[in-house]
Symmetry: C2
Subunit: 260 residues, 2 copies
């Protein structure tokens, strides 16, 4: 039988909560925390599972949870509430090791999504999910983006961050220069001095990187200058702008890779 | 000078709160409530403004608020908090008349978005925003969709619901039959027995209706059967599905109208 945890002050619980709350601690530990049966099962396909926590009720519903080859803890409902930060939780939680990914290991001639200072976790998550769905080979983040292994991003991405390399680069303009040196075309999403998407070819056999800025600020001039060209999604005058994850996903669909 | 409201129990405040909270009351009053300077200014371009409420601070920042030809109230900060339901508000609120729209007045040969039981206000709002952005002529809702004039939908749509007819039909399958009788093609978004989007022509000069179901359930069999054909967005096996407003917006982009 798995060990029981009855106290919210248990060290194993505090460790999980700290992983959920602190991006710096996740980086230090090369680990992250996820909540929810479906998300945990999905992540377990691509990331090493280290610890699993479940309530008695959750285990009765999903006895397969016991099969994971990792530390296991049966937690009381009030402990699950602390892990979840909410009463309405599914009683399934896990700690995973972060997949290691390096910019220099990214496939040359691949398709990439790059984000500059996109802070909203829902947008970062939805964009990672769309990139995985549309045959992209990886995601490149500037400093200041929401952590791809934070709880809200994991939820919005449905765990796609485990299925694809996601790397953070100290300087996004330098990363674009490197991709271009490898033969890729870097396309900045920008409203001005840009070509409308419907006039831009979607096929880039030597690789392409779609570069997107934050909802409020867009891309910095430095990153735009480091790209080959800029593209925009033409819209009517009836609205000022599109939702950020919608706009990015329409671009990703246009520049999609092979979908098998 | 505008009349001052110092009590949270003032009838004009209670009326606005009831509009914010109750879809049935909005329908009865043919009115709705909106919060935020940008959203209110945007909505005022397309919907009749009936009442405007602002704090002293908000008026000092945006003196143009006084120019609206409608009832005006200067509200104390604690009253603004009641209107907003939160402390962090911009101190600008308004009541608008709902634009009236009828299914039978929709332009024949137009482009439409139809939603069946899409309950999430963020998704309904983002989809209305995308439809307006991509040159659609209106939105058709089944019963059970989030109210397009509810506060969360207004925020997610950035007021686009005022710029386009949005109609609710008692029976979506009947509405599709009527659109087809007018010569339009109705396309159901469905994962099975459907054609991949990249193999489907986007131009429908006689009109097209893109029909989307809820994130969890998809479209009902009856609505799918009432359409001409079904389409799906092909995705890799790395994710199970796309975010609902992303998926709908990619379809809307593909079937976009003229964008001027």
């Amino acid at each position: 039988m798995p060990e029981r945890i009855t106290s919210r002050e248990n060290g194993k619980i505090k460790y999980a909560c700290k992983l959920a709350q602190s991006a710096a601690f996740r980086l230090e530990e090369k680990a992250f925390f996820a909540e929810g049966l479906k998300l945990c099962l999905e992540l377990a396909k691509s990331c090493p599972i280290k610890v699993i926590y479940y309530t008695e009720k959750a285990l009765a519903k999903s006895p397969e949870l016991k099969r994971f080859d990792c530390e296991q803890y049966l937690v009381q409902d009030h402990v699950a509430e602390k892990l979840a930060g909410t009463q309405s939780n599914q009683g399934v939680f896990a700690v995973f090791g972060q997949p290691s990914a390096n910019f220099l290991d990214l496939p040359h001639n691949g398709r990439f999504l790059a984000l500059e200072r996109v802070q909203d976790p829902g947008n970062v998550g939805a964009l990672i999910r769309s990139a995985a769905a549309f045959g992209f080979d990886g995601v490149i983040l500037s400093p200041g983006c929401a952590d791809p292994f934070g709880p809200k991003v994991l939820r919005a991405s449905m765990g796609a961050a485990g299925r694809m390399p996601v790397v953070t680069c100290p300087n996004l303009a330098d990363a674009m220069a490197q991709l271009r040196a490898w033969g890729s075309t870097c396309l900045a999403a920008a409203l001005y001095n840009s070509r409308p998407l419907n006039e831009v070819d979607g096929a880039y056999p030597n690789g392409v990187c779609v570069v997107i800025g934050s909802e409020g600020q867009g891309l910095s001039d430095g990153v735009i200058a480091a790209c080959d060209a800029a593209v925009r999604i033409p819209i009517t005058g009836k609205v000022e702008s599109l939702n950020a994850s919608v706009a990015g996903s329409v671009l990703l669909w246009h520049f999609r890779g092979e979908i098998q």
